[in-house]
């Protein structure tokens, strides 16, 4: 008689964004005449840049002709894209990452969910609190997190690193020793970040205690301050302790195209075994490569025209971030983020819980955001708004919030 993976049953409630989707759908059904502005889920709204559309059309045409048709992609990604990533995101910044350390994937969500597979089940993970739920949930599904305490809303075997207004949303080195440390800077959900010197401390710590940092750099393109690192490999010693996850979703609007990459340096080893070889084996066995046409679109991101067009797109969203940040600050809200990230993190007014504020914002202002408590217990009393809406909607949303809340 077959049995299920009981660890799945430990998962708490529904995946955060599914829950929001359900609440919004219910509200819309009850209020069919009311319009809603979504600044909740981190999905982009601007269309793909012209240079990417052109690259897609060209690649589609290639697929229609026997001479230029592309079947199975190389498991680890096409050379042209691995080279473009290594050259532009690493070598151009003086970071020692080679093309064969780049693993092309269908997005950072999959990579951040799958990467835990190559580690032992009894490894202890450390996460920021609040945190992108996928890091924890995928470890729950793997049986790595112990038992859930409903009162504290924490897992017994997870090391939480609180990030609140008290520490300027910057995690402190954990007191208990972790094996895997998930870091995301610029951060989702808080929009905060740390300096290169501060990240160097994490790299030194990881090397000292023999931990692996899983560094999620999905929001790197939004960095505006010069002392904020664009990749963990700007830090000395990161090649022996860090895996970096990259996304094309936010810098190039690929949320619906699906493209990402994981960087696994060959120097990252456990005894004789390189994590690079394990991840290569996983890709080769469980994955069949990202679509050729999507990888060609990814290549176009790094063309001169691509860089120019995407710089504009990022600026468009960061203009929204400024609109939200300044608008809410002027109205007396306590806000952070929004400088190096497309997320604004605000303290709920009047000691409302995050979900109470969600309901208030939806019903009074018709604005959908994301409750901070959905990202972890230290997110309680906070709320995330994203800069990924249209500018028109963003301006309207802030006006509605200022009028009605």
């Amino acid at each position: 008689m077959f049995k299920i993976n009981e660890d799945y049953l430990k998962l708490q409630g529904s995946y955060l964004f599914s829950m929001i989707g359900k609440k919004v759908a219910a509200y819309q059904k009850e209020n069919p005449d009311k319009s809603i502005i979504r600044l909740g889920i981190g999905d982009v709204t601007q269309p793909l840049a012209p240079v990417i559309i052109e690259a897609l059309h060209r690649a589609v045409d290639e697929m229609g002709s026997a001479d230029t048709f592309h079947g199975y992609a190389p498991d680890l990604g096409y050379e042209f894209l691995r080279n473009a990533i290594a050259d532009n995101d690493y070598k151009a910044r003086g970071c020692d990452i080679s093309a064969d350390e780049v693993f092309v994937s269908d997005g950072a969500k999959c990579d951040s969910g799958n990467i835990q597979e190559i580690f032992a089940k009894d490894n202890k993970i450390a996460v920021c609190d609040p945190v992108y739920p996928v890091y924890i949930d995928t470890n729950v599904m793997a049986g790595r997190t112990g038992t859930f305490n409903k009162e504290t809303e924490t897992w017994s075997d997870v090391i939480y690193m609180p990030c609140t207004g008290e520490n300027d949303f910057k995690p402190e080195l954990p007191k208990k020793q972790p094996d895997l440390i998930y870091l995301c800077f610029p951060n989702n959900p808080t929009g905060g970040t740390i300096t290169k010197d501060e990240l160097q401390e994490w790299v030194d710590y990881a090397n000292k205690v023999g931990a692996v940092i899983i560094y999620d750099a999905a929001y790197e393109a939004y960095i505006t301050e010069s002392n904020v690192p664009h990749t963990i490999y700007e830090c000395d010693g990161a090649r022996t302790c860090a895996i970096e996850l990259r996304s094309f979703s936010k810098n190039a609007g690929f949320t619906g195209l699906r493209l990402g990459a994981a960087i696994v340096p060959k120097d990252l080893k456990s005894g004789d075994v390189s994590l690079h070889s394990l991840w290569a084996r996983r890709h080769g066995t469980k994955y069949n490569g990202a679509p050729y046409i999507v990888q060609k679109a990814g290549e176009a991101v790094y063309s001169e025209a691509g860089k120019a067009q995407l710089k504009e797109q990022v600026a468009y969203y960061m203009n929204n971030a400024t609109t939200i940040y300044n608008g809410l600050k002027d109205a007396g809200f306590e806000v952070s983020g929004g400088i190096n990230a497309p997320y604004i993190w605000l303290k709920t007014p009047g000691n409302l819980s995050s979900w109470e504020f969600f309901d208030l914002l939806l019903s009074k202002a018709g604005v959908v955001g994301t409750p901070g408590s959905g990202f972890g217990p230290s997110g309680e009393g906070y709320f995330r708004l994203t800069a990924f809406g249209t500018h028109e909607n963003t301006v309207k949303a802030i006006a509605k919030i200022r009028e009605n809340i």
Copy 2:
């Protein structure tokens, strides 16, 4: 100090097709003047059908305009594609599968590798021998297969169901009781299949012993005989014991586009827990949907024009299958498969081992095939050729084999 997943180290050798790739590359390096015909890996060679190219272009244009841009896809797939699959592959055949039991994915390789995750680690798997390596390797990585016996080339905790000339390449019900049964019909690698009545016996057996059948229907489009089932849901009772995996790779040439679907009926339960809910949770947590443009291409497969064009494409490959089958049979080879599948399975002549025959075929005829032993111990002494080459190359390859072997 972090530790790795030790189960990965149990994996035997390199993934079969990587090994073949390396051997061919080495041969080409040593013999740069010799041409090679690849009838090894199951990759297609015909370009995407015009109706699919048109659908891709239209979808790309949609992504370039704010009004029609598509960001994150629904985790489980767009309704339009889930409906098309449910209607055409199931309802049209009288099978009771609804659209919300269809989970769109980026291909059957990923689904067949990931599906084991929702089951307990101590579940026992049964596989045909020979078998598509992904079924076993992904269970090895999950620690489900016990220890490897190098002499018998089998795993201690895997139930093998030999498929050889002696049983007409049809597996017999296992003597030990399995929890998960992987079946693939029409079969990769043997090209054999079973009748609907024979599949009904498997469904009855699974329901009786409480096992789940993971039914890989990737080659369904190649069926030519009327008593061969196109889906396991043609059998009574399959809704309570079977998950079906579908692919767009072979019926529509999507090997480079990446699209598949898993069917998980809501009646398939362990106690109160439906496997449907577990798989939905996995999709929602670890996956972010197939690209919109690829799902639109998938929809075009089911249009009237799509059906007509793909019928021709399948006929093209099946003409190759006939060419290989008849050509080798006339030359005195012992061949099977090729009637309801794009694979021809042949007995190596003169008691050569599968890899010996691989080397002979490569060096004497310049033809690349797949050694049967790469698919399991009962594949030793057999060899797979695929019908996915161009017709010209297929004819040439058979002529070269007949001349030189």
